[in-house]
């Protein structure tokens, strides 16, 4: 693995903290988009060139860097919210927990039974750290848009893990995963619009009225 790829992964980890520590939704979306673009570049650095790879890189950068962020930004504009005001987990605690989970990710990665050529790489801990940051956002924020951002962050973490397998992964699987993601975000965008229209709020903690008493 080249040192450039490692540096990009470190950048991804830093972007996690940026998302965890900000209340501005538009900034979060752009940070996740940037992360997506970085991740799109990564396969090109790790694996030898092939047309299959080129296609994956281009489509990932397009979807993660442009299409999905555009959809979400659009939703933010329509719902007229800029900030996540009172999260369940505050921004400073989020950062502290994020740091804790990132360091734990390194410990977990050391414990995982990996193939010998993958042991010691930065890929696995970065993947776990991004995944857990995504979980943290999902758990700590109220707004439905923040939930989408957490979901994207989690997906990025899973994608990093997939880097290890990229040359073994057929193009159809990649395309399918991307399509899933796109449709997922699309549906969430629609749901968000409906929630904000019906309840004039995007606070998902108000949605608990459906639970069984």
């Amino acid at each position: 693995m080249s040192s450039l790829a490692d540096q990009l992964l470190v950048l991804c980890l830093l972007i996690n903290f940026a998302v965890l520590g900000t209340s501005r939704l538009a900034f979060s979306v752009r940070a996740v988009a940037l992360q997506g673009v970085l991740l799109g570049v990564l396969p090109a650095l790790v694996h030898p060139f092939s047309w299959h790879l080129a296609l994956i890189v281009v489509s990932i950068m397009a979807v993660k860097g442009a299409v999905i962020p555009a959809l979400i930004i659009n939703a933010i504009k329509r719902a007229e919210i800029q900030r996540e005001f009172v999260p369940f987990i505050g921004y400073i605690p989020s950062l502290v927990l994020g740091a804790l989970l990132t360091s734990l990710a390194f410990i977990f990665a050391a414990k995982l039974p990996l193939a010998p050529e993958h042991a010691g790489l930065l890929v696995v801990p970065a993947s776990l750290a991004t995944l857990m940051s995504g979980f943290l956002v999902l758990m700590g924020r109220r707004k439905a848009i923040s939930q989408v951002i957490g979901y994207l962050l989690m997906e990025n973490g899973i994608f990093i893990f997939g880097l290890l397998l990229a040359d073994a992964m057929p193009v159809m699987v990649e395309a399918g995963a991307l399509l899933d993601l796109l449709v997922g975000v699309f549906v969430m965008g629609i749901v968000i619009n409906h929630i904000s229209r019906e309840f004039s709020t995007l606070d998902t903690s108000r949605l608990s009225a459906l639970r069984e008493e």
Partner: protein
Amino acid sequence: MLRQGSLGQRVATAGALLASLMALPAISYMLTAGLRARYLIEWNLPFGSCELALDPLTLIFLIPIFLVFAAGSLYACGYWPASSKPASEPPLTFFYGLLAAAMAMVVVSRNGALLVMSWEVMALSGYFLMSAEHTDPEVGKAGLVYLVASHLGAASLLVLFSLLAGATGSFLFPAAGSLHVSSSLAAILFFAALLGFGSKAGIMPLHIWLPSAHANAPSHVSAILSGVMLKMGIYGILRVITFFPERPLWWGELLVVAGLVSALMGICIASAQKDIKRLLAYSSIENLGLITAGIGAALYGEATGSSRLAYLGMAGALFHILNHGMFKPLLFFGAGSVMHATGTREMDRMGGLSSRMPWSTLLSLAGAVAICGLPPFNGFASEFLLYLGFFGEARSSQPLLALGAPVLALVGGVAVISLVKLFGITFLGAPRSEGAAHSHESPASMLVPMGVLAGLSLVGGIFPQLFLSLVNPVVGALALGAPAGYAAPVRPIALTAAGAALPLLAGAIFLVLKRRELASPRATGPTWGCGYLAPAPRIQYTASSFGQLMGSLSTPLIRSRTSRGTVAGVAPVEASFRYQPEETLLGKVAMPALRGAATVSAFIRRLQHGEVQIYMLYIFATLFVLLLSVR
């Protein structure tokens, strides 16, 4: 007859009648001709092939299913018509059919997984049927208890069939007598079957769900729940018993004791009820207890080598299954007609219905006589076989089982008290309330099914050989120590003679008394006027006063909670008295235990939070623990 129903109800009823008309002759033919059939359905289930089979044991249980289903569907057209119950009629009609189909599936399936699935469909359709009036909090509570009990029973069945699959290697039922397992595993299997199937059959003390469930359901639903669904539990026990090549003696002893205890306690509690349908529900516990005791006696006879007892116990039990599937629906239909006419379930508010509803009265009387085990109805024939079986043991080397005969006699006596109370308070005397005074006869769609069932009960009493010819092949196929050609020690013609003689004797006595009455001077007054100058309907015997002696004897089982105002002075002010029978086992043991379980499990309910974020936390915590446990 079908006029009152909606189109859906009419189609459903016509379908039910057609199905029964086709099925019942076929079943009778297959039983008497000794035919069997097997079907293999191509179905890619992970539980092995899906096998259905018709053997004598299955066929005998199909008879009440088809009989009561058709009768109940027809009855529903008059009792629960779409015109007066537009909201609850469609689901009720749908689940009525589903319940019958699921029950038929339970008895024909030869695969444990398929049986459990059909069992669940049956239990759930039963739940939706009985909670038709779910807005009533009492119905909701009864439904909840039913659902919990049903799931506990199903859990026991899962244990049973998983162990069975572990022992045989597949979910297919082992062939009769081919399951060779260690005696401890056999005991566990037997207990699992007894818990799982016995809770559905309402064997005490697994009966706690039964009375309120059957009392709160619409009457045609109570009829099928009580007349048929309870028998599914008996079917399951019998089916599991046939797997084993030999059955230890204590199985029979346990079943005899459990059956006799349920019969006696059930009927004692029934005698103190004031709700007409609760009384009938407790009487179902009694009848199922008699059936269980008969099966136990057959097992006992098999283990001790007494083919006489084995035959009489099993034939009596199976015959009683058929009979109870006729007269209990008949009585529930009668109760439904009464409720339809008066709008109440409390017997203390009825009375004097015989003049306004002559046909319902006559048919209910037939049902009441049948369930008391009196000739000339079928209850007499089957209970007589059980009496004979127990009584014959007096001459055996260990006459302990002969003690069952006096218990049966006691049960029969208390049953007469209970049913005389039910019939007398409801139909005789003067009306006790406005509703009773303005009652009306039921439509033909309700009377015809009752008439058919009453006619069958009469046929079964006068020509028991007809029904015995259906029962005998089953006894032979079960081969519980009774050889196939074993004949009853009593000739059926004797039962016919007894069935004919008793009504003749009663008729003769009636005529003599009538003549004597005509000869003496007559005075007319209201019934039970007791010579008062201005008798009011309220001074009649009530259900509680009629049952007070019996009630005072059974206080350990059932206690009446009474509340009364004080009556003092020469001209006392208006005072009231009310009472509510309360079953001790239910009120003092079962309900506190359930409440305790609810308190203990309250923290699990807190997990069901409703917050998306908390659910994410659960997922995250799971992931975290999994990652931690990697080594």
